[in-house]
């Protein structure tokens, strides 16, 4: 698929001299991170995926602004542009593609599809990123503590992981959705500073984030724990203890920088996983509901128009697939760049 990073390394990043006086005076110090970035940049596919991902993120950030200033109109109903005789199929070729509606209109409602898809990124990506952040945070903290402490703490966290993994996640999700969202909207929103949760979209989004993080952290914790287990045996940890480093310093200054690589890789791979998970949830009817657009609920609506309006059926699917693939390839590229030893 891609050029193995390790082969690139020889050309892009010549190893520095090894002799006792080998380090020449002028070469600036390059951290392992800088070396990895150079490797990443040398990989074309990773860079393309990176640009696509950046574009998606840009769309997610810009859409709310564009909606506010009236450029995008995700839920304005353009009934006049629909062919009511054909059950609401938009007039014109490819689902009503025109200058004012570059991706056409949604059949039935006549909303602008570009606006909806773009704005859906705000919610889908928002949920995926928030979920990833919380997942990684829980996983990293528990992983470091359990790996470093060992013994009883480690065993307890291990049991907790097993318990979480054996939970019937999908059942929980479907069964708990309605009551939990209600609870969030009615009671949690009473708490100080949490008033915004009365908004049904935010409450639904929060529920999805909670479910994703609550069941997503164990693999992160396991990966981090495994890394920490090998790192805590290295002598620089003992050296740090010897100079009197506190526990906090050991965890976050000595250990954490050394597990950044797998954490970063896992994070970049978690984002696309959560984007598709969110889409799947919405598809199942859990999560943010129309008219607020998410990739999942657009997709859910589009399947009923498979033959009548194929453009509407395919476009959301393609956007979702592209987004997920792009983020995944960035994650793969990051893994190759950070660990040139792994071959595929």
């Amino acid at each position: 698929m891609t050029i193995p990073a390790s082969e690139m390394e020889g050309h892009a990043v010549p190893p520095l001299g090894e002799s006792e006086e080998g380090v020449a005076g002028k070469v600036a110090g390059r951290s392992p991170t800088q070396l990895a970035m150079a490797r990443f940049r040398a990989d074309k596919l990773s860079m393309i995926s990176f640009y696509v991902s950046c574009f998606v993120v840009f769309a997610a950030v810009a859409s709310p602004i564009l909606v506010k200033i009236g450029v995008f109109d995700p839920d304005g109903l353009n009934q006049d542009k629909l062919n009511t005789d054909l059950g609401g199929i938009p007039h014109g070729a490819f689902g009503g593609v025109s200058w004012s509606h570059p991706l056409g209109l949604t059949p039935g409602n006549g909303e602008d599809l570009l606006s909806r898809l773009s704005f859906s990124m705000t919610y889908s990506l928002g949920i995926a990123l928030t979920g990833t952040l919380i997942t990684v945070l829980i996983g990293v903290v528990l992983g470091i503590i359990s790996g470093f402490s060992g013994g009883f703490v480690d065993a307890t966290v291990g049991r907790f992981i097993d318990l979480t993994l054996s939970f019937p996640q999908t059942m929980m999700l479907l069964a708990l959705a309605a009551p939990t969202v209600l609870l969030i909207r009615k009671d949690v929103s009473e708490l100080p500073l949490l008033g915004f949760l009365e908004n049904p979209d935010l409450a639904n989004g929060l529920f999805v984030v909670i479910i994703l993080s609550a069941f997503g952290w164990p693999p992160v914790a396991r990966v981090v724990r495994g890394q920490v287990l090998s790192i805590r045996e290295r002598e620089f940890i003992e050296a740090a203890k010897l100079i009197g480093a506190s526990r906090k310093r050991l965890y976050f200054k000595e250990v954490l920088p050394n597990v950044w690589a797998p954490i970063l890789v896992y994070t970049t791979l978690l984002i696309p996983a959560y984007i598709s998970a969110e889409a799947a949830f919405s598809f199942l009817g859990v999560g943010i509901k129309p008219p607020t657009p998410t990739l999942g609920n657009i997709l859910r609506d589009s399947v009923s128009w498979t033959t009548a309006d194929p453009t509407y059926f395919f476009l959301p699917g393609i956007v979702l697939a592209l987004t997920v693939v792009a983020f995944n390839l960035v994650g793969d590229g990051a893994r190759d760049a950070l660990d040139p030893k792994t071959h595929r």
């Binding site: 951290s31 620089f236 010897l242 009197g244």
Partner: protein
């Protein structure tokens, strides 16, 4: 900068009157062996260090020598309190630090530092040299933040590195340079005692001498006491005026350099020494028989009864299996733990320890006799057992 193969400095000399900065008495370090499975019961103990005693004068250096796995590193790590010892006392400047809680260790960290064996794992690969060497100052809040860098550069210069390289990462340096970084970090807190755990065994032979010379320089300049750990007798000979030989968690012989190298009394020391090339002997054309140690080092989980060396000792007799030989003082600065101590080829026919241990020549307990003097105290007595006469004598 030095030439590739640096000339050796003069050997360090012993100052017998130096006040002891470190006294280790009967140090024990056991590691529990746990069963696998859900309930991890303790099924045994690795007796990594079992009853080690010695004394180290301020500004002096003691070599700790022995084969791999005999407990040298464990001794060093217990003294620096990376481990909490199972038993015994570690008196640093008269204060027992063996039982101090981790919280109260911080001030002691300033005085006791360590140089690690592996320059490739002892430096955090994600930190710059400046961060690594400056960390001790930051942690102990010794100087204001803007004074850290000048101090770092100063110390880098002392250990022979370019002070402008402070923003480099460890992977940009060679093994020898990395070891210098480790030395710089250890020196940063101006310690009084440095535990050097095989500081040069991971290095190229051509670079070993440079690093040893550097250690000798800093010892002289800052008056640091060294516990120098090595697995062969060649390197410590130069560095340490006093040397202890360890076998399977115990000290079997401890003496000043001249005695240990010219008149070793323990069969194990003699075997170790026969592996060291001797310049003087080569000069007179003599050849020394190489004593081969056969068999493996027994497991420290289940060490042999009596003398731990008996499974590999050519002199072993009945008593060796029954009675553990005490570390007996046989000279002004010479102790040996063997029932038949003597120079190579001149071992006594009968055990010299029967009276002290309260046993007969076969190692059976003699009714009415009890073990005599208290042994295993650090340091030396003013009187000792003269092997030639069998009497206690003094200087």
């Amino acid at each position: 900068m030095e030439e590739l193969v640096a000339e050796a400095h003069a050997p360090s000399q012993l100052n017998p009157d130096a006040a002891p900065i470190l006294e280790v008495e009967n140090l024990q370090m056991y590691f529990p062996v746990r069963s696998h499975g859900l309930v991890r019961r303790v099924v045994g103990q690795v007796q990594a260090v079992d009853g080690v005693s010695f004394q180290l004068g301020a500004g002096s250096s003691l070599g700790l020598v022995g084969e791999s796995g005999c407990g040298k590193s464990t001794t060093g790590r217990a003294i620096t309190r990376l481990y909490e010892p199972t038993g015994g006392a570690i008196r640093f400047e008269g204060k027992d630090i063996a039982r101090i809680s981790p919280k109260n260790l911080k001030p002691i960290r300033r005085d006791i530092q360590m140089i690690f064996q592996d320059p490739y794992t002892s430096l955090n690969p994600r930190h710059t040299v400046g961060t690594i060497v400056g960390a001790p100052l930051e942690i102990h809040n010794l100087v204001p933040k803007d004074k850290v860098l000048p101090r770092v550069q100063e110390i880098l210069e002392v250990v022979g590195l370019n002070p402008e390289h402070y923003n480099r990462y460890p992977h940009e340096f060679s093994g020898g340079q990395r070891q210098r970084i480790g030395i710089a970090r250890a020196l940063m807190l101006q310690p009084k005692l440095l535990v050097a755990d095989e500081p040069v065994s991971a290095l190229d032979v051509s670079i070993q001498a440079q690093v040893v010379n550097l250690l000798q320089d800093v010892q002289k300049e800052f008056g640091i006491a060294f516990l120098f750990i090595a697995h062969d007798l060649a390197i410590v000979r130069h560095f340490c005026p006093e040397i202890a030989v360890m076998y399977l968690g115990k000290i079997v012989e401890i003496a000043d350099r001249e005695t240990l190298y010219s008149r070793p009394h323990h069969p194990y020391t003699q075997a170790l020494l026969s592996a060291v090339p001797d310049v003087r002997q080569a000069a007179v054309g003599g050849r020394r028989e190489r004593i081969r140690l056969t068999g493996d080092v027994p497991s420290p989980i289940n060490p042999p009864s009596g003398c731990r060396f008996r499974t590999r000792c050519s002199l072993a007799k009945e008593i060796c299996a029954k009675v553990e030989p005490p570390l007996l003082q046989v000279g002004a600065r010479h102790k040996v733990a063997c029932h038949f101590p003597g120079e190579l080829g001149h071992a006594p026919q009968t055990p010299v320890t029967t009276g002290i241990c309260g046993v007969d020549a076969q190692g059976n307990t003699v009714a009415g006799q009890t073990a005599d003097i208290q042994l295993n105290a650090p340091g030396y007595d003013t009187t000792w057992l003269d092997l030639a006469t069998g009497q206690r004598t003094g200087a």
